[in-house]
């Protein structure tokens, strides 16, 4: 586990003090977090703990606020209220310099990879190394090939992102996310749009890399079956609130209506099929009088 970023100022020290978590216990702690875009509420009263070395999934329907949670952990958004602590630091209170220092210990896999399209696969993975280290070129080459080997794409080092399939792009992005041996890796919909083989490969890579590198992983996804195979704990988010949580075994055995609807893929239930609207009959016959 990496050492938490050293505070660069007294404000950063205050940020640590404001964090109510024990930095040795949890990698990430969200306490009663609420967030809104202007007046539109996205999250309300989110409290969750992500222990070190574990894989935690945040599941929920599209638009339920899952990705917003990742952005709050990464400091790209600031909560309206509540605390976001990562590695003992209060993320919303960090100054830009300290936030960037903390982010150097993060890796993030974006939904569609977010590879730099003007760089080759090799250059994409070398990018964070070149930006943040003074390593000699020979060492960077070896490290990049090692990361690519870990995701099974050493032979694709010379390809451009446009030449990769969706699954390959996701694996390259994963190699880039672990380029600097981060303490925390965040995955934003890592299984979206993948064929079954790629899906299985990505799932296994997340588990293997997490265990081999002793990192902490947060997986935002709506893929129930793949997640239940690899994660240690799950949070279910609906309409900006945590509606259920538990280990994969607890989730399998759960009789909670939301969890059942989510696992069974039922079209109607706590998550309604119809968007709120006036009564059907009233709207159809509104002109009849």
């Amino acid at each position: 586990m990496s050492i938490p970023a050293k505070p660069s100022s007294s404000r950063a020290a205050e940020a640590i003090a404001a964090c109510r978590v024990d930095p040795t216990a949890a990698a990430v702690e969200l306490t009663d977090v609420s967030f809104a875009y202007d007046v539109r509420p996205i999250l309300s009263g989110i409290t969750m703990t992500i222990p070190r070395g574990k894989i935690v999934a945040i599941m929920g329907a599209s638009g339920s606020g899952k990705t917003t949670i990742l952005r709050l952990i990464g400091g790209q958004l600031r909560p309206k209220s509540g605390g976001v602590c990562v590695g003992g630091l209060s993320v919303p209170d960090l100054e830009p310099e300290a936030l960037y220092a903390l982010r150097r210990k993060f890796g993030m896999l974006f939904q569609f990879g977010a590879l730099f399209t003007d760089m080759s696969v090799f250059e994409n993975i070398a990018f964070p190394m070149r930006e943040h280290t003074e390593l000699p070129e020979e060492l960077i080459r070896d490290l990049v090939l090692m990361k690519l080997h870990a995701v099974g794409l050493r032979g694709a080092a010379h390809l451009m992102p446009a030449e990769l399939s969706g699954g390959m792009a996701r694996r390259v992005a994963l190699a880039r996310a672990i380029a600097l041996d981060p303490m925390l890796v965040m995955y934003d919909e890592p299984f979206a749009g993948l064929d079954p083989i790629s899906l299985g490969v990505i799932g296994q890579l997340i588990r293997r890399l997490n265990d081999a590198l002793s990192i902490t992983s947060v997986v935002v996804t709506h893929d129930v079956y793949e997640s239940l195979k690899i994660v240690d704990y799950l949070y279910f988010v609906s309409e900006g609130r945590i509606v259920a949580a538990g280990t994969p075994e607890e989730v399998h055995a759960s009789s909670d209506l939301f969890v059942r609807q989510f696992i069974d893929g039922a079209p109607d239930g706590p998550v309604a099929f119809h968007y709120p609207a006036p009564a059907y009959r009233e709207e159809l016959f509104a002109d009849v009088g």
């Binding site: 990464g74 790209q76 960037y100 220092a101 982010r103 150097r104 993060f106 993030m108 974006f110 939904q111 569609f112 977010a114 590879l115 730099f116 399209t117 990018f127 964070p128 930006e131 943040h132």
Partner: protein, 271 residues
Amino acid sequence: MSVELTAGVAQWLRRIGGAVTGAASKLGFASRFLLAVLWHTPGAFRRMHLTLREIYFSGVLSLVIILMSGLFVGMVLSLQGYETLKRYGADEQLGILVALSLVRELGPVMSGLLFASRAGSAITAEIGLMKTTEQLAAMEMMAVDPLARVVAPRFWGGVISMPLLAALFSAFGIFGGYVVGVRLIGIDAGAFWGQMKAGVDVWPDVTNGIIKSFVFGIAVSLIAVFEGYDAKPTAEGVSSATTRTVVMSSLMILALDFVMTVFMFRGASVI
């Protein structure tokens, strides 16, 4: 009825207020954005290979359109100028007419407009697409500031390229004027070059033209990077931002040209 009227007026006022607030907010954001870009300038020059790459994309790859346009503008200018000067028996003044028109006005303005259409739109589209495909967000999450890595090199690449392109536009325009005036129409080559040499001054003409093109470079590059960075992360958002870059840059060039011309050539015979 009066209640409806009041509601209508209130809605109308709200719309005006919203538009004014939105415009002021965007102007404030653009000002802060410019300061941030300037703040990251030393970083952009430290990573000189990034700025050189942008000079290549904005400058070198714009050369064909700039040189060809300059050549044809100079040729047309020579042809039209000769027809007018001939009426007053001053056709030997063609060289000075072509050179002053190009160096003072047409060079900076035309190359600025072409630069906005070719390079400015490309910069906006590139940054906008990087935003849409989360490449900028990925950079931020890797603790790399996109303003330093993406925006500042493109801004300075444009600012540096623009005066060089304007100078080349003028040079090729003068050459085009020479081909038509001397080679095709038959004006004496000595008179063409001699009048030009005697009538074009370095400071009021050439230097002011360079200053103009430098200012246009700042305006176009700033608008291009800002619109790309501020684009909505959708296909439609990038398309609108690209259009706004071309329209706003073109209007800005023409407006700035008028203002600078007033100050630069106030005492000269042209005004």
